[in-house]
Amino acid sequence: MFKKINNALNPSLRHPEQERASRINKVGAIILLAILYVFLFVLDNFLPAGSFTGMLIPVLRKGAIYALLCVSMNLLNGFTGLFSLGQAGFMLIGGYAYAILSIPASQHAAVYQYFDGGAIQFSIPEFFSSFLGAGLGSFVGSIICIIIAGVIAALFAALIGIPVLRLKSDYLAIATLGFAEIIRAIFQWNGFGIITNGSNLLRKYTALSDIRWDIGSVSLKFGTVFVFLIVTICILLIVLLINSSYGRAFNAVRDDEISAEAMGINLFKHKMMSFIISSFFAGVGGALLAMYQTTIQSAAFTSAMTYEILLMVVIGGIGSVSGSGIAAFLYIAANEWWLRFLDSGSIGSIEVSFFRGGFRKVIFSIAIMIIVLFFSRGIMGDKELSITGVINWFKNRKERKLAKKINASKEGE
C-alpha cells in the first residue's frame, strides 16, 4: 500500500510509456513546426509566383487565421459549453481596432475623406518605424496593435458578458448574436465616423506585405510566417489554458453546471473568463484578418461569418483543438481553391453547362450535409491529434480490421 502511494506520488503520475509518448509528441511537434516555418519562409520568398503558389499562400494565411478563430470559438462552445454566436462582432472590434491604430498619419486625410481626417492622428507601427526601421518597426508595431485589438475585444466581452452570461443555452446564442449585429450597426453608423469611418472602408494600414526585412537591395517577406507565428502562439496559449486547472473547471461547467457549482466552481466567474479569453483571441483573429484583407469594412462581418466558423468547429469536432485547426484549413482550401472549378463552367476543356457561378456552393452544402450526417461528431470528435496517436492508429489498423471481422461474424450468428 505504502509503496503504491509513493510510486504514485511521482508528480507526472504517468506510466513510463505515456511519458515517452508525451516526449515524442513534444519534440516531434517542435521539429514539425520548425520544418513548417522554413517551408513558409521559402514559400514567401523563393518559390516562383504562379497559379499554384498564388492560391497556396492566401489559403494558408486565411486557413491559419480561421484556425485561430475556430479554436477561440471552440474554447467557448466546446470546452465551456456556452453556445455563443457573437464571434463576428468581436472579430469586427479587433479588426477595426487594429486598422484604426495602424493607419499612417499621412494617410488619414485620404482614408477619412468624409470625416475631416478622423479623430485619431497617430499610428503605432509608424511610431516604431521611426526608430526601428520600416520592416522591424511595422513588425513590432503591428504586434502591439494586435494585442491592443484583442484587449479591446475582451473589454467589450466583459461588458456584454455581465447581462448575457446569465442566460442559458439557446437564449445565450440569441443574445450574443444580437450583440454582434448591434456592434456591426454601431460601427456602420456615421455618428462614430471620425473613428470608424462610418460605413466606408478602412485601408492603407499595415498589412501582411509590410512585414518584411530589407537588407540592402534584397527584401525578405514574412507575411505568411507572421500569421502562423501569431496563430501558433495564440493556440498554444489556449491549449495551455485548457490543460490547466481552469480548463478542467471549464469542462466541469460544460458537463454539469449544478455539480460544478456545488463543488465550489463559481459559474459566473468561470463563464466570464472563458467568454473574455475567447473574445480576446477572436479580436486577435479579426486583426489578422484585417491584415490579410488589406481593407476592412464592417458590413462584411455578418452573422454568416459566425456560422461559417461554427461550421468549421462542428466539422472538426466540438471539443478538439486539432480538429478545429484541420477543419479550418480544409474548409478554406475547399471553399477558396479546390472547388473553384465548379464555378468556372468547364472541367479542363470539357464544357459543363450547369457549372456556373454559385454551383460550388451547392456541392459544398451537400458535402457538409454528408459530413454532418455520417460524421456527426466531426473529424476528430473530442480527441486530439498527436504524433504517437497517428503512429498507433496505423499500427493498430490490422487489429481493428480483425476486430471488425469478428464483430461482423458475431452479428451474423
Binding site: L9, P11, Y246, M263, I265
Partner: protein
C-alpha cells in the same frame, strides 16, 4: 449559541407557488456526529438539502454554519402574508416602525427588545442568498441523489477538478505553469483520495463507465476533495447491494473519523440509518414529525404512521 453545533437550520420554509415543500424546519448538526434526515418519498428532504447548499433560496428562515449565517431570507410580497409573524424580524435588520404602532406601545417595545437580543443577526441587507459555490467554500460539500459526475472526464479529473476551488493559482500562473508545484500537490492529494476509496485503478476510465456503487464512492471522493468540514450525503446507499451498503456504513464512519467531519445524510435504507446515525429527524409533507435517537424513532408512532399509513379509526 452552542459552539459544538456545526450546522444550525432555523425555521426554514421553502415554498414553490402554492406548494410548501419544506415547512418551518429546524434542526442542528453537532460537530463530529452523523445526523440523518428521513421521511417518505416526496417529504421534502432533498429540497431541504438544496436550501442548505444554496441551490434554492428558502422562502423564510436562517441557516448558520459554525455560528456564521450563510443563508437567510424572509418572505416578501405575497409570501409575507402567509408567514407574517414567523420570526420574520429575526431574518432582517430592516426594522421598520409600523404605522399603527405608537412609541409608547407595548408591542413596539417588545419588538425592539427582541431585535436587540438578536443583534448578531442584524444584517444590513434583508437577504443573504449566496450561490452554491460560496457555501461549498465555507466547508460544506454534498453529493447528489441522482449522481452528477462530470461525464466527459476521467475518474482522476473528476476529483482533481473539485480541488480547483481551494487552489491558489490564478489564470496566469495556471496557464504559464508557474504554479506547477501546487498543481503537483493537488495531483498527489487526488491520488491519495483515490487510493483510500480503492478507485485508483480506475483513474483513467471515464467516470460514467464505473459501476453504480463506485460512482457513488467517486462522488463522495469528489466532495471530500473540496476539504469540507460538513458532508451532506443525499441517499448515498441508493441502488447499492446489501453488501455494498454495509461497506458504505463502515466507510462513512471511517471518513468521518479521518477528516473530522460532521455528516448529515438523507437515506431510505433504514438499516443504514439506524446503524450509523447519532440522531434522526423525520419529516413528512415538509414538516417535522419526530426527532430523536434511532431507538426512539423505531418505536415512534408518528413515524410508523407516516411510513406505513395511519390507522384512521
Amino acid at each position: 449559541m452552542n459552539e459544538d453545533i456545526v450546522l444550525h437550520v432555523e425555521n426554514v420554509t421553502m415554498q414553490f407557488g402554492g406548494v410548501v415543500a419544506v415547512n418551518n424546519l429546524s434542526l442542528d448538526v453537532p460537530k463530529g456526529k452523523i445526523i440523518a434526515l428521513i421521511g417518505p418519498n416526496g417529504a421534502g428532504k432533498t429540497t431541504a438539502f438544496n436550501c442548505i447548499t444554496g441551490v434554492y433560496e428558502p422562502t423564510n428562515g436562517l441557516i448558520t454554519f459554525n455560528g456564521e449565517p450563510i443563508v437567510r431570507n424572509h418572505p416578501v410580497g405575497a409570501m409575507k402574508k402567509t408567514y407574517a409573524g414567523l420570526n420574520a424580524d429575526r431574518y432582517t435588520s430592516k426594522f421598520v416602525l409600523p404605522k399603527e404602532f405608537d412609541e409608547s406601545d407595548d408591542a413596539y417595545e417588545k419588538r425592539k427588545e427582541a431585535l436587540k437580543e438578536i443583534d448578531k443577526y442584524a444584517f444590513t441587507d434583508t437577504q443573504l442568498a449566496p450561490t452554491a459555490d460560496k457555501i461549498t467554500n465555507c466547508g460544506i460539500a454534498r453529493t447528489f441523489q441522482n449522481i452528477r459526475l462530470w461525464k466527459s472526464m476521467t475518474v482522476f479529473d473528476n476529483v482533481l477538478t473539485a480541488k480547483h476551488m481551494r487552489a491558489k493559482q490564478n489564470l496566469f500562473s495556471a496557464t504559464f505553469r508557474t504554479s506547477i508545484a501546487e498543481e503537483n500537490r493537488m495531483k498527489e492529494e487526488t491520488v491519495q483520495l483515490l487510493e483510500e476509496q480503492n478507485l485508483f485503478r480506475f483513474k483513467d476510465d471515464l467516470a460514467t463507465s464505473l459501476p453504480y456503487g463506485l460512482q457513488r464512492r467517486l462522488e463522495i471522493a469528489r466532495a471530500l476533495a473540496t476539504n469540507p468540514t460538513l458532508l451532506l450525503l443525499d441517499e448515498p446507499a441508493a441502488g447499492m447491494t446489501p453488501q455494498e451498503t454495509v461497506e458504505l456504513c463502515e466507510f462513512i464512519k471511517e471518513i468521518r473519523n479521518k477528516y473530522n467531519l460532521s455528516v448529515f445524510l438523507i437515506e431510505h435504507h433504514m438499516d443504514l440509518v439506524m446503524q450509523i446515525s447519532d440522531y434522526i429527524y423525520v419529516i413528512d409533507f415538509g414538516s417535522e414529525i419526530a426527532q430523536g435517537v434511532p431507538k426512539d424513532i423505531q418505536t415512534n408512532q408518528a413515524v410508523i404512521n407516516a411510513y406505513l399509513g395511519a390507522d384512521n379509526e
